[in-house]
Amino acid sequence: MYEVIVIGGGHAGCEAALATARMNHKTLLITGNIKNIADMPCNPSIGGSAKGIIVREIDALGGEMGKCADRSLIQMKMLNSSKGPAVRSLRAQADKITYPKVMLETLKSTDNLEILEAMVKELIVENKSVKGIILEDDRIIYSKVVIITTGTYLKSDILVGSTRTRKGPHGEKTSNYLSDNLKILGFTIKRLKTGTPPRIDRNTIDFSKTRVENGDSNPYTFSYDNDIYYDVDNQIPCHLIYTTPTTHQIINDNLNKSSMYGGLNDIKGVGPRYCPSIEDKIVRFSDKERHQLFLEPESIYYDDIYLQGFSTSMPVDVQEKMVHSLPGLENAKILKYAYAIEYDAIDSKQLKLSLETKVIENLFTAGQINGTSGYEEAACQGLIAGINAALKLENKEPLVLKRSEAYIGVLIDDLITKGIMDPYRMLTSRAEYRLLLRNDNADMRLTEYGHNVGLINNDRYNKFLLKKEAIKNLIKELKTNKINPTEMGNNFLRDLNTAEIKDSITLYDLLKRPEIKIYSLKNMFGKYSNDVLEQVEISVKYEGYIKKALKDAEKFNELDSKKIPSDIDYSKIKNLASEARQKLEIVRPTSIGQAMRISGVNPVDISLIMIYIKKEYFYDRK
């Protein structure tokens, strides 16, 4: 018998299964098609603003995505480097052949983990607790916990023009029964939608009409293992083009043929606001003369070029015209047509912060089924669901990351507390304390947790401790070493293009000057690695703001530590606004802080709850 069954082998499922197996729980990963393990059905990239930091966090906790991406990337960039330390983030072009291959190898070589190719029909539930699953061929498999990570495969429909086909991504088999079963079990089922652009044959593109977009010349990795696998000097470039007036004309002329604009009249799915289709962009921003498109290579092993920014649900003949109106693509051959996909998801407000469902015990969900969009968002939920499923099996408290600790904490809290309307994508602005949640310090924030649950091995942990020590030492050195107002001292400052001094100054204070970079002091601190130097530079330069953020976060966390009794009866609190009452009833927040973040729950409602807990709750319970 298995302890854990993971349904779905996408980015969430892989992380979940690896986590439980590595935490020594016998795990079965069930996938509809083993060839699609860790598939990237949409863009060939990993990371991006905020998302790149999530990958770093996954790595710090002992997840796989960062390592796997490092082994498969063909181009790497540090985004936002000029916009400040808090918002820097990595983005890679990942090879769509290599990434799934590396992930599958990892899964296969992991102890306690088996993979089964099958479709799940139903959950076995007794006394509101999950006991196993029934496959579509009626086989029964028992387990102690089940993690559902089905992505877009629940009752998915592929939409192209006026056609609707019951299929998964790439025309794969879809799961027809599981979402009905979930509905019967008490879950609210939502319909969401997303889309993907056409793929173009690289050999038919005239790249001379495009602008080359190269990777960064500095080497980077997602993983704190810091192993560089890609050829930094020979990265595969992307190319930039713009839509033309003809493109816009074609789209406007054929608008009613798009699935979303009348081609189909039964669309219920809500699409992501942050990833509109090209027809959406042209309708909603009609004053914009052109839209940016990126030509991204999917793999070095085949010819598909992903046309980022051009997702559409137009019929194929219109897609042909649209593509041929683009510069450089006049004679392009479309290898795969764009499509929109509609799928079922559950209401994430029915989950606990551990990602266990409130409806069925020992059942966890992660990824797109929870209403998110994006590989990274899925992977981090899979990891947390896996960790918490394992902790549950071990009768331990779940790992719940705070909003001030990780983007992962922000993401899960948002899902559970606020719920989602459209597919949720992580943005840096969703985090209150992004100066704390940086790309450079994910290891400092989370390695300890990863080690505690057993996903960070001793080697890696020791490396982390050494880095921590080095940071401490470097700060000490900066504070004790001074530059004196001698001729030599001032010559040194003049060379650095900074103001001369009359009194001696510590290197620590010197580093606070905006124009001073730690790399200009590097020859004094050659023994320290670049990531140590970077982290120290940030923590010195922005010390005041980091301290302030820490203080604010502490206050914030205090509200999160104000617990709301789990058996609170909201109907007994007089004068609660009915919208607030309903939402509180659904979310059942565990703390005042969480309650405050529920949309539709106003300050007034919060004070009523607090007054009630203070004055009447204990009385009511007697």
Partner: protein
């Protein structure tokens, strides 16, 4: 919140009428127990009913009772208001009876708190109500009402919108860095926008400070040596304005000898007991005490005698007031001029006997405080000191963000201060939640509303 509260809603002073307000689910039932007249539980909603309040068989007062049923009331609960015609004593007696029959004495500001908690008013409005309660002149009443109309809220919302427009643009730049066709808000573009926002906030702050004057009046002290004519000046001012002369505590916690209305602005004439009676302030309490009065006051009116030379004590005081708002009255110009006024500024020549100089005095005050420029119609302000201090903090944050730009800090650091400003403005509007905010706010309310 399910108990019924009561309090005397009018000032504890002898006026034409006192109102005792009751709010809560049992308010009508309880009022009915002590009222002889129509059956209040059967009268129509929103009616005024004539009758008497009895304590058992003893007649307490002849009253009019308003019955207003929820939800169309101030607190959105059942409200009864008893208009009593008698003395403070009878109002207190009625309150006592209500408490005996099941009401709880309202905490300071609790009616407004309930109105707020029941969603009838937002925070800015709640603060405005506090101002209506305390408003003592016509202009400050219209100020308070103006605020209730959401005028101020709108101004703040507009400024906040300008800030969030910047925030949103920065966020788009950060979260979608690959889009080079979206305007990238770098520090050079943001700076002028921030300077404009700062201007808006400053205007609001200045207006708000004016509104403090409108609301609280100008604390004024009249000083001068014996027989210089202080009491006649004061009495003349007060008589003319028919101001109410009371001993109620003023905003400075000093005794307010009287208040007078200039252009709708209240002048609080502060003093220790009685310059009107003794007229010998410099002599009896000495220069030292005069100086401490000068420090407390916002406006000093120093009275000198046209007929005599300036004394050493007077010189000492003149020296003390030179950095304050002051007006010098040279009185008794009907007598021979012996004073050397060459070096004096802000001088008004006056004769109480011949009724000369009073208009000039008022003009001088109006000019000094630019009272004629305070226009309550086109005017947005925050009248509570909490809101004003929040605006000040928001300005500080905007200043800091501008400084950070000058220090070449990256945009994500600059944005921290911009966010802060937006959050502070949200605090004024009650959009963000702060735990103690409400306790703090509502304990600032006067009892009974």
């Amino acid at each position: 919140m399910n108990d019924t509260i009561a309090a005397i809603s009018t000032p504890l002073a002898t006026g034409a009428i006192s109102i005792i307000r009751v709010s809560g689910q049992d308010s009508i039932k309880i009022a009915n127990k002590i009222f002889i007249g129509k059956d209040l539980e059967k009268v129509n909603d929103h009616t005024i009913n004539y009758g008497h309040i009895y304590d058992k068989k003893e007649l307490i007062d002849e009253v009019m009772v308003s019955v207003m049923k929820e939800p169309n009331t101030y607190t959105r609960e059942d409200i009864v208001e008893i208009n009593a015609h008698g003395s403070i004593a009878s109002a207190k007696k009625i309150l006592e009876l209500l408490l005996k029959n099941g009401c709880r004495l309202a905490n300071p500001g609790e009616f407004t708190e309930r109105a707020f908690l029941n969603g009838r008013i937002d925070l800015v409005e709640a603060e405005g109500i506090m101002d209506i309660i305390e408003s003592k002149t016509e202009k400050s009443l219209s100020l308070a009402i103006n605020q209730l109309n959401g005028n101020t809220s709108n101004k703040i919302k507009n400024i906040r919108k300008k800030i969030s427009d910047i925030e949103t643009n920065i966020e788009v730049n950060i979260d979608f860095p690959e889009y080079d066709d979206i305007e990238v808000l770098n520090n050079d573009i943001i700076k002028p926008k921030l300077i404009e926002i700062r201007k808006d906030l400053n205007k609001l702050l200045l207006n708000s400070k004016d509104s403090q004057i409108i609301k609280n009046g100008i604390d004024t002290v009249i000083i001068g040596k014996p027989n210089v004519g202080k009491s006649s000046i004061l009495n003349k001012l007060l008589d003319e304005e028919k101001a109410i002369v009371t001993d109620i505590p003023g905003t400075t916690r000093d005794i307010v000898e009287g208040t007078l209305d200039i252009n709708g602005i209240r002048l609080n004439l502060i003093d220790t007991a009685g310059i009107r009676k003794t007229d010998d302030i410099v002599e009896s309490i000495g220069v030292k005490k005069s100086i401490s009065l000068i420090e407390k006051a916002s406006l000093i009116i120093m009275v000198l005698n046209n007929n005599t030379e300036i004394t050493k004590e007077e010189l000492e005081i003149l020296n003390k007031i030179k950095n304050k708002n002051y007006i010098i009255i040279i009185n008794k110009i009907d007598l021979k001029k012996n004073i050397n006024d060459n070096n004096l500024k802000n001088v008004i020549y006056m004769s109480t006997l011949e009724n000369k100089g009073f208009d000039e005095l008022k003009e001088a005050i109006i000019k000094m405080y630019e009272l004629d420029k305070i226009n309550t119609n086109d005017f947005s302000y925050l009248s509570s000191s909490r809101s004003i201090s929040l605006i000040e903090k928001a300005i500080d944050s905007i200043d800091k963000s501008i400084n950070l730009i000058d220090e070449l800090m990256p945009i994500d650091i600059v944005e921290i201060e911009i966010n802060k400003a937006s959050e502070l403005l949200g605090d004024i509007l009650g959009i963000n939640y702060k735990e103690d905010l409400f306790d703090q706010l509502f304990s600032n309310f006067c009892l009974g509303k």
